[in-house]
Symmetry: D2
């Protein structure tokens, strides 16, 4: 969390508080109390747990410290809804969350209301800057769980043999072109490289793992203008992609064997026709061939890139591009899924002489510029392991466990998906998951020399 930035005015913060908290409830609106009990994979949590845990966060890290005379809603909740903060309190094993039939959803909603009331009173007072920073953190925390509500419900409804629909009009990764059009050849944008600054800059909120802003050296590189589509991924599958060990990292090949992967998560095939299970229910793949392929592990993204003759970008290549800096030339035409010819990529190639264009509008969190599919469709696996930046300092106290202790064994994803709340999207945001993770909206952007 940036500590150099003055928090938003209390009034605006109170407004944002109400809005974020309300949106969480709105996400649960199509769900029954029973739906909110399901924990269909070890990675997911029941929606009811998400509702309670996000209230717990404000109670534990804001109200207990900054609201004089705050009465805990239920002292047992202090550990019952703790996720993983070892230095704060004990907590139940994650897999037990599906057994929390009590407290019931009504009681959890009362817990939320109790917290909300206290928070309103706190905000009406003149809370100290630390409190405001904690509130801001809590809201971003809640937005992370809003995304998890969607990904966890998708998994729960997929595991349910009846395959129910969450909402008929729920957001999905957007099509690159209309279903009837060919996706067209993949084009790349070149970047010059050199010393770049990465990490969060400026006024707004960020997590501790986005800091400090620091310099990195980038060699010249090129990024694909769009995400890999379902149609392109199907070609990989049809070319034996899941049966050729030479395309895979060793761990990835083991995962393919152990789990029997032969398609992205949520794809299924009947009589040769593929369909994809979504929050809107099952959809024919034929109508989504121009949509970005999603719900892939890092291993699959990496194997696809190798098959296609490209590679995944590093997180800093992605971030520098997303900040729209240092563009050497305009779009390069590249053959359809063929490696960019070396002649065109050589540093001394004449290259396209077009003027520099940015990939983004000025405000990265604003309405998205469609063509690049940088933000708001799929998280994009990068070739970077999730590690601390030089000089990384975790938040003080128990909140130091928020991000830092997970800096091992995970890969960085960038960009944000269709399930990610808008205020949560920015160029410096670092999402991270183990490389075999598939239940997120995770896709592929290719890179090249």
């Amino acid at each position: 969390m940036s500590t150099t930035t003055p928090p938003a005015s209390n009034l605006a913060l109170a407004e944002r508080f109400r809005s974020v908290r309300q949106r969480t409830l709105a996400l649960a609106e199509p769900l029954t109390p029973e739906d909110m009990m399901v924990q269909s994979t070890a990675e997911a949590s029941p929606v009811k747990w998400h509702l309670a845990h996000t209230a717990w966060f404000f109670e534990s890290f804001v109200l207990r410290e900054f609201q004089r005379g705050y009465r805990l809603f239920n002292p047992d909740f202090a550990w019952l809804f703790n996720s993983y903060y070892q230095t704060f309190a004990s907590f139940p094993e994650k897999r037990l969350r599906s057994s929390f039939s009590r407290p019931g959803i009504e009681e959890v909603l009362r817990f939320r209301a109790h917290v909300d009331d206290a928070m309103e009173r706190l905000l009406e007072g003149n809370p100290p800057p630390e409190a405001l920073e904690r509130i801001e953190l809590g809201l971003h925390h809640e937005e992370q769980h809003q995304e998890l509500v969607l990904t966890d419900v998708l998994n729960a409804f997929y595991v349910n043999p009846l395959r129910p629909v969450y909402r008929p009009a729920e957001a999905e990764p957007r099509l690159w072109k209309r279903p009837s059009e060919p996706a067209g050849p993949l084009r790349f944008l070149r970047f010059e490289g050199g010393v770049q600054e990465v990490g969060h800059a400026g006024e707004g909120f960020c997590f501790d793992n986005e800091l400090p802003r620091h310099r990195v050296w980038l060699e010249p590189y090129a990024l694909a203008e769009r995400l890999v589509t379902c149609g392109e991924y199907l070609e990989f599958m049809e070319d034996g992609g899941y049966r050729r060990p030479d395309l895979w990292l060793s761990d990835g090949w083991n995962a393919v064997q152990d789990h029997g992967w032969s398609a992205p998560l949520y794809w299924s095939s009947e009589s040769g026709e593929w369909s994809v299970f979504t929050l809107r229910g099952p959809q024919a793949l034929a109508l989504r061939k121009n949509a970005p392929v999603s719900h892939l592990s890092y291993y699959e993204a990496d194997a696809y890139a190798r098959w296609a003759g490209y590679r995944l970008p590093t997180e800093f290549e992605w971030e520098a591009a997303a900040e729209g800096r240092l563009i050497a030339g305009n779009l390069l035409d590249a053959g359809w899924l063929m490696p960019v010819p070396a002649s065109e990529m050589r540093e001394d190639a004449p290259g396209p002489s077009g003027e520099a264009v940015g990939l983004l509008p000025d405000n990265p969190a604003g309405p998205f510029k469609r063509p690049w599919q940088l933000f708001g469709d799929c998280w994009q696996w990068t070739a970077s392991a999730y590690l601390g930046y030089p000089g990384f300092r975790p938040l003080p106290g128990s909140l130091g466990e928020y991000n830092g202790k997970f800096m091992s064994g995970q890969m960085v994803l960038r960009g944000g998906s269709c399930a990610t709340p808008r205020p949560h999207i920015r160029a410096s945001y670092r999402n991270f998951f183990p490389p075999d993770t598939r239940w997120q909206f995770s896709g592929i952007r290719l890179a090249s020399r």
Copy 2:
């Protein structure tokens, strides 16, 4: 299922049908829809699943075959709520049952009502004898699930860190004596042995695994007049019972190490005070010292018996005793947890000369004769593996999978527990579970030469 017995009159059967079906609903009455979603151990199922599966049984094995024009409530339910009948339909993996938020409880109750309506119409007609036999089987099936509802809820509420109460007055294993009284020395009743008939006899219903009635040879033996109490079991624990490999079967010792067992399931200790979690909530062990110890694995029952200098009875020793036959003498006094002196047990010993008494009143399913604790407190692990009787024939068709395919790796328990429906208790009933099972109301009756 006995095929030689005329079914109860249709009217009486319809009455019993309503009563059994109603009792299942009554068991669910204290539960919320969320409670009915929990599957807290691999052995258990969600209560909602029990509600649906017992309706599925009537739909699949009665209505589909015997009710002309019966309309399936929902064709998907035919496999969704199939438990394990491989030859009937596919079925979901058991562990997925906790993800069935849909159908919701309302829909499951409509499913039950739909089935009940059709069953009423069937019973009003003149269904053939096979149908009546299937209905009878379905009712006993439902009673088995009634017991499971209680054992599964107990586990679910125990796993829930808040430890809720199911019902303040739910049945429990009855005390042998008042809490303030000493349990008193353990006394045994001797039986003469010889050729005995075992297996179901007479008019009533039985499962296929209780047939055919056949002869066995029994050596003379003695059975304890009551179950081992919690207080006695505590002495075993305090004597290092869980730390002495010489007391255990090899598999049992491995289970102790692997699971870290050091007390019966549901016992916990705080500051040296033991309490037991029950359907009524936590209870001080101090008040239950004269209650039968329960929720033990076979391994623990066997180790306790070895420690105490006795053994577990075979299922046929138990059954012959429960039928009240061939008693050689009256109660023997035996030292407190000391092996019965050999001199007293020799066949030619003068022995107690008292008249023979039966262990049971005439009607084994009737109100229980308290002293013997044979029925209705705890299932009693026997030293008999669960195998088919000589000439065993499974039911025809898919129902042949009901009992027969489980005749491997399990031990027989006899007697019935406080959770067992009364019509379900009889001397020939064979319950069976793997030897590491602890979530049932399972206790210990000692035997001796």
Copy 3:
């Protein structure tokens, strides 16, 4: 161990001691020191370990107690080569045995010589009866390990991708008929049933688990005159035996799925031609169609019997037949793998009137009467769980762990295989293994009503 029987004269015992000990070494003769290191499955042990452990047994249970002034060869060996006697000493995890490169084979042979020398001196003295009984036990113990040497080497050489040959003329289950002849219809022998005595009787040695001899009640039954052949088992496979859940116990079907079983252990198929790996190397199944099928789990034996319309015998049916008692009639002709017609099996059927014949020659350990294949070809899975006989008493002290603590989760096999030493074969012998065990020479004898 029978305690009522005077031990063989010391001289004869000394002679037998030398002969048994020498035979163990002879079994290791074709093996290199490296071969004797291999532990290719969790069930097996390295041959070097067998050589050391059998010496350890005499050192630990005979010499330490009965040879005054005996000097331990190496105090570390007391626990290093302890197999599982918890009350004797600690012992290493079984899986570590393959890491015991030290002591080397030379040192293990010196250990054996050291023990042999001390045993000779002990036998020259006048050891007390307990010592003689322990020595007899130790020799039978060593014979058990002689069998394991063969089964473990077979597994080790099968797992070795080079598939080496142990000995070109090693014993195998004998053909029922010449390869070119049809096996012929399966015939059964009927037994009358009634009260039978089972368990060891007479003068010779037996293990504690064969005692006490006691009475059982047997219903009339019939036993097949020979074992099921490889050719017959192939028909089961070709009829989809491994793909039909209705043929299997529930645990058995799970084992088929989990392990991917589709044929007996050691069978493999190339271009449609089956071959069987043996101690003589790979052999074409075509030449072994009339040999008994072997290396089956209990689950496979049970499924085959169900498919064929028969069942497995109980251990007491087998034992009574092997003792040649109570035969009601001579061979019944039965259709080829068809259930015996009920008319022929009814008690009141006229039946064959031939005189009673025994299944065995007088000396069960002598040269076998070929037709019955009762002894010396394959262990025969029975339908009996391995449990203690009524009044079972384990040996006193640590030797009580020899058999008793394994009386859980295992099934009894009877008869002895081609790998079993002759003195080790008798009608009352109870072998036992978990039902998924396949690395022993285990086959099928069918039974019927």
Copy 4:
């Protein structure tokens, strides 16, 4: 492998070939054929397998392609001793290597001699440059396995309950000071940072994963002048280091719980006295307090650094330091295990003005400059995940599987240990292992801002 460098003259290469091949045999000299069978952990291989696999490498990648008329020693060996080259041939599961009693050690030595003869003939001819490059690669490959021979034997002898000695004078990590001296306060050397070149440069051999040499940006940093000692690590243990979750990465804390770690691998404690098992046998920790702590996982190294108030260096910080470049000042005195005072570490601090000194003599592979303990004592875990350098290209063909496919889930170690062959040590060398790996000689160098 550098492709721009002319290979050593054939004569010198032949000489080096003989020397490297001979050294492998010398390492096996203290071992019996049985020792060479042991595979005591999933990470290790039997020594005999190492002997065979290193011959297989020359046969498969040199002789088959470049020696006209080469006769395979045994066609089965082509897959039997393949380690993991999926595109070359099938290979046995790694865990089966301990079952390869055949071929015996004599045959494996004949295999080596057969390969050596053919290699001599090839080298006498005029092999093409690709062949020479492959031979050079094969020799470095063999040196990697020489190191594994030592680490695998250490583990095998540790698992053996008899704890044998490999060689009484085998190399070990060197003491920093004499046992009787205090280790002294930890001192740091500062580096200026900026754009640095990393990756292999110059004439000599390197692996593909050390290329291409490229630029990185480093912030100013400081490296400890020596490795963390056993004595210092003991303080961490005594301060509850293994019981405080706040010190650990989340995955690391899980590993501590799952494996029950409470000390480095090979440490054991009896009556409060620690000893360390080494290739020389057990040694009292009291005499090795000034030796570098070794056999730690990445998680332990990371937790220690956090406890001590420092961090681990990145691989590029390490490499730049090891190349002796860009040193801002001479040794800083720092308090004993206290963080370097911020005032001293600020960029604008006056700082020590001493002249720049290199950490290394000119020849990084030559005799080591003792003080820095950079090379030849313990591999040093870095904070860098093992990933490809920008523009990384795996070797062509099957050899592309050598390094590239492992670029996932592993951390980089730098420096080389006492078990590493000298020609194998260089500043750009990247060793890599999963973060829970402990069987290598892996220790800790601290870094700071």
